[in-house]
Structure formats: C-alpha cells, structure tokens
Amino acid sequence: MKIAVAGKGGAGKTTISGTLARALARAGHDVMAIDADVNPMLGISLGLGMDDTERLAGIRQELSGSRADDVIHEHTIEGLIERFGEDAPDGVRVVVASRVDMPDHGCLCCGVSADRLLREMEAGGRTVLGDLEAGIGVLTRMETGSLDVVLVVANPTPKSIEVARRAVEAAAAREIPVLVVANRITGDADLEAIRSVLGDCDMAVVPEDPVIARADAEGIAPIDLDERSPGVRAILEISDRLTAVPA
C-alpha cells in the first residue's frame, strides 16, 4: 500500500505521518516512511529527536556529491532506499528524498526527486508512507494510480481549507482516493467549516490535543509522550481504518 500525506504548511502533515507510521508498524506492517519534503522533519515525529533528524542525509544530495570518489553507484530505487534508509522506533524505516538547507543542495529538478521516489517505488509487501511538502506541488506531479490513498490534512482555518480543497481536486484528477483528516478540531463548528467547503467526503477527525502540542514544543514523538491522548488515539484509528481496506 502507498499512502501520501498532503496539506497546507503547519496543518500537521508531519505529526500525523510520523504517528501513523509508528501505529502501522505496531500493527505489524513493514513501514517505509518517505520524507518527501525538502524541509525534512519526519524524523522528529517518528521519535528520532531533533539532532538525529538533522543528521539524516538526503538521497539527492548524496548522489550529486561533487567529488569523484564520493560518487555512489546505486542504479535502482530499491538500492537507494536500502542504502539511505535509517531505523526509527517500532521497526519503521525512514528515508529522506532531498533537503534544501545545504550550500550545495543539488539541482531541484534533476536526479532522484521525492516525486520520482513516490511514483516509482514498488510497495511490494510494504506500507509506504510519504510525508509531502507543503502545498500541492508533489501531488500534481503524481500519475494516475501511483498512490493508493492521499490523506489531505485540513485545519479549520480558511487558508488551510482552501489548500485542502485544491489537494482534493488534484487527487481526484488523478483518480487517487482521498481521506480528509480534519486536524486540531475543537467542536462541531470547526467540522462544519471544513465540510462546507469540501462537501461530503471521507473524513477522519483528530481533536486539538495538548499532548501533540507539547510533543512538538519539545521535539519528541507524540506517540512516545502519551499514546492514550485523544489526538494520538484518533491517529491510531486512522491506521486501523486504512488497513481494514485491502491494499
């Protein structure tokens, strides 16, 4: 199964991706988490901490290393994932596609991009979970059938809902099933705000949760801080829901 997580910046994509990856792994899935954001931070919500997350190498940058003796000979997507994958808790493997925070960050459009990794890698028996960059760019570069489901994360704010609407539209144009994740919900009015724009779509609700806020403040995984908090429990339910459907 291949899952991607999209939405406006700050909507909670990374927090939901990391927690969901851990939940799927605990449920016995072989999880490959792809950090498809050029500002990669999935490591934090997977439980690696800020320092180790900062140390994860981006595949693109490693491949475009300028010194001849640095050239890495890997010709297959599987080989790259094998070489650059790192271990995260609960047996999750994580790989960073590309990072744009180095003086020499390589070309943004050449070589192995997050788009290409997600499009071309075969799920096989694994559960592949891609945490996308803010906005809908990566989604608009996917092909029909290259993903099994997109989780579109929406906060109850006008801008976040508008980005979610565009993401849902982009997924529909590619015949990719969508599950809207209404995040940071404090009441019915929030849900109504989202439904009034997105209409009658499949939706999961993650409540506003001080545990998740504290985890983000401290740079730890919400699932490690308190797996029984309402927000984390709601994400565990998304894991159940996704795996109840045959991949």
Binding site: K8, G9, G10, A11, T14, D37, V38, N39, M41, I44, M50, T53, E54, V100, D101, P103, H105, C107, L108, C109, E133, A134, G135, I136, G137, T140, R141, N155, T157, P158, K159, S160, E162, V163, R166, E169, A170, A172, A173, A213, D216, A217, E218, G219
Partner: protein, 282 residues
C-alpha cells in the same frame, strides 16, 4: 547610494537553479521565510502596509503557489496573475517576460494595487494541474525578480517578499532580491528547525542578513523556548493575537480590522528594525 547595475546572463529555465552569488540589492528589500503556518503571510501583508504608511513605496511579492498574501494586504485574490499578460511564448523555447519589458514596467503595469500605496506582484497559483497553466506567469516572475537590480528606481522602494513554507525557494533562486530575511519562528521544534535551516541558507550562500521574529508568542517561556531551540537571539516578538484569527475568518487585513492590536504594534517594531538595519547597510 544606488549600486551600479551589472550585466546578467540570460535567466535559466524554471525551475533550474540559478547561481547563488549575491547581486546588488536595495536597503529595504526583504524576504519573509519560515515554516508553514508560522504566520509569514500575515506578517508580510501587515509589514508591507506599515512600510507604505511610513511613506515608502512598497512592492509586496507573493511567490506562494498557494493562496496567501492578498487577504493580509486587504485586497481580494486576483482571478489570474496579471503577469500572464507580460509573458510570451517564443516558437522555440520556454515562456519568458515579453521582450522590451523590464522589472520597472512589470512593477508599474502588471501588479495589483493595495491600500497605502502598496503594489502586489504574484507568481501565480497552482490548481489541480499544478503551475502548468500559469507557466508564462512563473517564468515572467523569475525573469523579473532576477533582474530587479537593473532598475535604479526600485532601490528606493521597499520590497516585502512572502515566501511559501520551507527553504525551497531560497535554494532555487526565487529571492535574489532579498538583502535581509525575516525568519518567522513559532515556539515549536519543527518551526525552529526550519528557522535554523532557512537562516543558514540566507547567511551562507545567499549572503543576506537575518532578522528573527518569534511568532504566536503567549508567554515569556515560549519566547525563551524559541531562542533555546533556535540557538539565536530573537529580534522581535510577535504575540499570539485573537485579532489575527478574527481578521482571517472575515478575510480582511488585520491592519484594517484592528490597527491597535498587539500584532500590528509588533510589526511596527519590526519595521523600525528593518529601516534601521537598511540605513546601516547602505
């Protein structure tokens, strides 16, 4: 005081990287960067309006393919980017800025007016087919920002560029005009890590100054946390302010809806810093 314009190679096709060597830049040419949701657009829109009220002629640049800046400036989102009209598609080769049009013409003719004498330049918005339908606008945009230093009159302007989330556009040469970046950071680990990365790019290959704005701060502890997670001193503190949420829900600019609100006063402090450092730089 106006730096001499230097000849430029032909701009590369989007989205190929451009060389990162710094170019001549105006003293008040600013980029606003940070993590998604940190408050970049609200801060950018309010800052542009505030600088306009102080008597500067202001160009507000919206390079986010997702909606954002227009509402914070107090204008409706334009239906299609005006820059499409300034773009041409030659028989061979990609879309480009029409020949004979320079950055100053773009700023005069292909920008949207906002209150307080601000003009808004837009990259174009992505729909379900991404940016492809507005490729003409995107390429004309890049031609414009990469030639900004060729227009002597623009050195007298203030520029406020509202960037999309993360470091992508800094790394890909979308902001060659920025002499300084306002790096917007919320009191969270993800926001601080983004702030560190953006600041590293800005000070390093982009050769720019950095101003740290702690955003959505509601206690001394939160401000301290931003400084601890960043490993940097915060230059200005933008408080968490209900006025921002109210204005956003009503789709109006916070500077119009609540001109005395704490967030607007904080942006005034930021404008002081920008003016002061701009004077020191020139």
């Amino acid at each position: 005081m106006t730096p001499a314009a230097t000849p430029l190679p032909k701009p590369p096709l989007w989205p190929v990287d451009m060389p990162l060597e710094p170019r001549p830049r105006g003293p008040l040419w600013i980029g606003v960067a940070g993590k998604g949701g940190a408050g970049k657009s609200v801060l950018s829109g309010t800052l542009a309006r505030e600088l306009g009220r102080r008597g500067h002629t202001v160009l507000a640049i919206d390079s986010d393919p997702m909606p954002g800046l227009a509402h914070s400036l107090g204008i409706p989102e334009p239906a299609e980017p005006l820059l499409m009209q300034a773009a041409e598609k030659p028989d061979k080769g990609p879309w480009r800025l029409r020949s004979g049009i320079g950055p100053m013409t773009v700023v005069r003719r292909y920008t949207t007016p906002a209150p307080d004498g601000v003009r808004m330049l837009q990259l174009g918005k992505a729909g379900k087919d991404g940016l492809a339908p507005v490729n003409g606008s995107v390429n004309a945009f890049l031609d414009t920002v990469r030639r900004m230093h060729e227009a002597p009159a623009l050195y007298e302007w203030a520029i406020v560029g509202d960037l999309p989330a993360g470091p992508r556009q800094l790394g890909a040469g979308f902001t060659p005009y920025a002499r300084a970046y306002v790096v917007v950071v919320e009191p969270t680990s993800q926001s601080a890590m983004t702030g560190r990365r953006v600041a590293r790019l800005a000070r390093g290959p982009l050769g720019a100054d950095v101003i740290f704005a702690a955003s959505k701060i509601s206690s001394r502890e939160e401000r301290d946390r931003v400084e601890r997670l960043l490993g940097e001193k915060v230059d200005v503190e933008i408080p968490a302010d209900q006025a921002v949420r109210d204005a956003e829900a009503r789709r109006v600019a916070v500077i119009d809806a609540a001109p005395q609100s704490p967030v607007v006063r904080a942006v005034q402090q930021l404008a002081d810093i920008i003016e002061q450092r701009g004077m020191e730089s020139s």
